[in-house]
């Protein structure tokens, strides 16, 4: 009898396994195997073409930990992320809050604010590099920003925005935030619409003003959404590179380098595919650790 029940149990498990097998197979082929290959390649010196690869163990990882340019590029990515977390998300939050109210042209604003995220990053980079162009023709600036500054009485502010190390990365970070705030706006707006209006009415009855309601109702209720937006912002901003390529090409010395541009250079510039994979594995690992801790923080905040 026990053998029959064991067999029946195995049969049920096997049938269940067969149902998930296609998904597991796809996951294994497109996620697990490529990750294994990338990690394997990171232990080799390989130029991407030759039939043989030289096994070098963890030499690439040792080199990466001493690579000052790599860690400088991480710092640049963190700067872009910081601007996105502050400027981008505060703007998205404020605009979502405004659009959640009953205001005129609410639908129009919602549409307008979602246009930047759906534009191609290359196109956005090209347009902004034209706006920030420092060139001149006939003594007059040709970049839109410099032209406007010159025309409206601020010629002292005319600047070489993308070729000055003090401003290049900030310009890129601001454009990145301009392009990305629409996503945060949509997620925050969805979050606002899940807040029960009765909570605000109850707070009003208790004598709460705008700021009291904001800190005691809006923020606690929006906390899970805020954490999601923060995680997505960090993951997206740390991996930014398309905008950098279209705005400053191969970069302004190392001031506009980010981890992905370093990976690209390792692959296409110095043809060191193994080293590029090392960078990819390390970068991926860092992002996983960051996401894990943010998730943990989010769970603890929910419990509190």
């Amino acid at each position: 009898m026990s053998k029959r029940s064991a067999l029946a149990g195995f049969k049920v498990n096997f049938e269940n396994f067969l149902f998930v097998l296609p998904a597991v197979a796809i996951f294994a082929v497109f996620y697990i195997y490529p990750f294994y290959e990338i990690f394997n390649l990171s232990l080799h010196e390989w130029n991407g073409i030759s039939l043989t690869k030289q096994f070098i163990g963890f030499d690439n990882f040792r080199e990466l930990f001493q690579d000052a340019v790599w860690w400088f590029s991480m710092k640049n990515a963190l700067y872009i992320t910081f601007i996105a977390l502050t400027f981008q998300n505060v703007l998205a939050f404020a605009l979502a809050m405004a659009c959640d109210r009953e205001i005129r042209l609410k639908g129009f604003y919602r549409m307008i604010f979602f246009i930047p995220p759906v534009l191609s990053e290359i196109v956005v980079g090209l347009i902004w590099s034209w706006i920030l162009n420092a060139g001149q023709q006939g003594g007059e600036p040709i970049g839109l920003l410099n032209f406007a500054l010159d025309r409206f009485g601020f010629p002292n502010l005319v600047h070489n925005w993308l070729s000055d190390p003090k401003t290049a990365l900030t310009c890129i970070a601001v454009v990145h935030s301009w392009k990305g705030f629409g996503w945060g706006f949509v997620i925050f707006l969805a979050g606002f619409q899940t807040i029960d209006r009765q909570l605000y009415e109850a707070a009003k009855v208790d004598g709460a003003g705008f700021w009291d309601s904001f800190w005691n109702v809006t923020i606690p209720m929006m906390l899970p959404v805020i954490m999601v937006v923060i995680i997505l912002t960090i993951l997206g901003s740390m991996q930014a590179f398309v905008l950098i390529l279209s705005m400053v090409g191969q970069g302004l010395v190392y001031h506009t380098e980010v981890p992905v541009t370093r990976i690209l250079f390792a692959m296409t510039g110095s043809s060191r595919f193994g080293y590029a994979c090392t960078m990819g594995v390390t970068f991926g690992g860092i992002l996983i650790v960051v996401s894990y801790f943010l998730n943990l923080m989010s769970k603890r905040m929910k419990q509190a």
């Binding site: 073409i49 060139g135 003594g139 993308l162 191969q250 970069g251 302004l252 010395v253 250079f265 296409t268």
Partner: protein, 432 residues
């Protein structure tokens, strides 16, 4: 029984269809290219070739060039390269393609019929596609690519803008060039533009002057590690860029300027000088047909040495050694580089033809570019190239001089430090 017959017939049908497709494919050559300005001309030539020979030629465009490069590498790894393609990498990577067995050796074809095909093309263009005996890449000596046009990179000058600054003749020396730049600056004209946001262009400019100041032998000795980058001659090369800045010679934003925007600046007369390749003739013609400009070699620092400019093959194609249509592919490339087709390409695209006999039909400004082909050199023909990681430090160092962040001496020290580190690593790897 009926099912068995049906199954056998189905299998036979599949095999017949499969074989028919294979036979049809043998009359079709597929070529992958990246040249957006030439696609229309290529399609027309493909049509003509099919009319003449019955062989269908399919040109597939994958642009821009860096996307094309990635596609070629990925396709080589997957062994799905087309019959004819281009390799837009440095020579050591071309060597790897050859050693992987995906690039055909064309030496026999070039030397056939008393070297007729070989002699029709510019030697410098062939040299870029050639590996000599005892090359450091471990490749059997031979010619592995077919140049379809030639190019070189020189300076251009806008005659009208120079005249506004009271300059009647283009400068002959670097000192004169700096004086002209100051004269232009005084009348509010920007001096010099180039696509130095693309690091290879600033490297090219520096390389020209390195050869002029110290000669090819010393440059190669530096690549071998025998001469440090802190040598006074190298510091003199770095100092040229500082002097350009000090004399207000450079257009604003030059360090992050892609070449296509630099071309726009020169074509729209925002700068009096440009540093660009012969492909710019077509570009300038499209943007501003009235532009009145001339071509000159970069003005020398050292009058005792020649100015060696980068040039040779502009674009080259290689033949897939694994292709079943290899012979047809080679025949097509021979046809493509014949005089009639080269004249057609030169007229349509305003690029310099690879065939020397096609030079008579080109515009004067292109002829001026062609006149300097004997002054050309190229990293692909050097006995040894610098390590790419050292080149990056070198190029970024030049950028930092231009933006005033570092001095020539500081950059020289950094490049030498990178060089020493790479040489140590290479020595360690070779011992593993």
């Amino acid at each position: 029984m009926k099912r068995t017959i049906a199954l056998v017939l189905s299998i036979c049908l599949v095999m017949v269809v499969g074989c028919a497709q294979r036979t049809g494919d043998l009359n079709k050559i597929v070529i992958w290219h990246w040249m957006t300005d030439r696609d229309t001309a290529f399609q027309e030539l493909a049509r003509r070739y099919e009319q003449q020979t019955g062989v269908k030629v399919v040109f597939e465009l994958y642009a821009p060039s860096d996307v094309y490069s990635h596609k070629i590498v990925a396709s080589a790894q997957a062994k799905i390269l087309p019959d004819i393609f281009g390799i837009l990498h440095k020579k050591h990577i071309v060597a790897e393609f050859i050693k992987s067995g995906v690039v055909a050796d064309l030496t026999t074809d070039f030397n056939a019929d008393g070297k007729a095909w070989r002699n029709s093309l510019f030697p410098r263009a062939l040299a870029v596609n050639q590996f000599e005996a005892d090359n450091p890449y471990g490749v059997a000596p031979g010619i592995y690519g077919v140049p379809i046009d030639v190019t070189n990179i020189q300076m251009l000058y806008n005659k009208a803008l120079l005249a506004k600054a009271g300059v009647t003749e283009p400068p002959q020396t670097y000192e004169e060039f700096l004086d002209v730049a100051q004269a232009l600056y005084r009348v509010g004209i920007e001096g010099f533009v180039s696509g130095w946001g693309e690091l290879w262009m600033v490297e090219c400019f520096a390389s020209n002057y390195a050869f002029n100041i110290m000669g090819e032998d010393k440059v190669m000795a530096t690549h071998r590690g025998e001469v440090p980058y802190t040598d006074p001659d190298w510091i003199a090369v770095f100092d040229l860029f500082k002097r350009l800045v000090d004399h207000h010679a450079l257009i604003e934003g030059v360090v992050t300027k892609a070449n296509k925007y630099a071309e726009q600046d020169f074509a729209l007369e925002r700068a009096a000088f440009a540093f660009n390749g012969s492909w710019c003739v077509n570009v300038y013609h499209e943007m501003n047909p009235e532009l009145d400009y001339g071509v000159m070699l970069p003005p020398r620092v050292n009058m005792d040495r020649p100015m060696r400019i980068w040039g040779g093959a502009g674009s080259s194609f290689v033949v897939n050694d694994l292709s079943l249509r290899k012979d047809k592919a080679i025949a097509f490339l021979k046809w493509l580089t014949a005089k009639e087709q080269q004249v057609f390409l030169a007229e349509k695209t305003k690029n310099l033809p690879a065939n020397r006999t096609a030079l008579s039909s080109i515009p004067q400004v292109l002829a001026d570019f062609a006149a300097a082909m004997d002054d050309t050199t190229h990293p692909s023909v050097w006995p040894l190239n610098e390590d790419p990681q050292v080149v990056e430090v070198f190029d970024k160092g030049l950028q930092s001089i231009i933006i005033g962040e570092k001095t020539p001496a500081q950059v020289a020290a950094e490049v030498q430090k990178a060089k020493a580190a790479r040489m140590q690593k290479q020595q360690k790897r070779s011992q593993m």
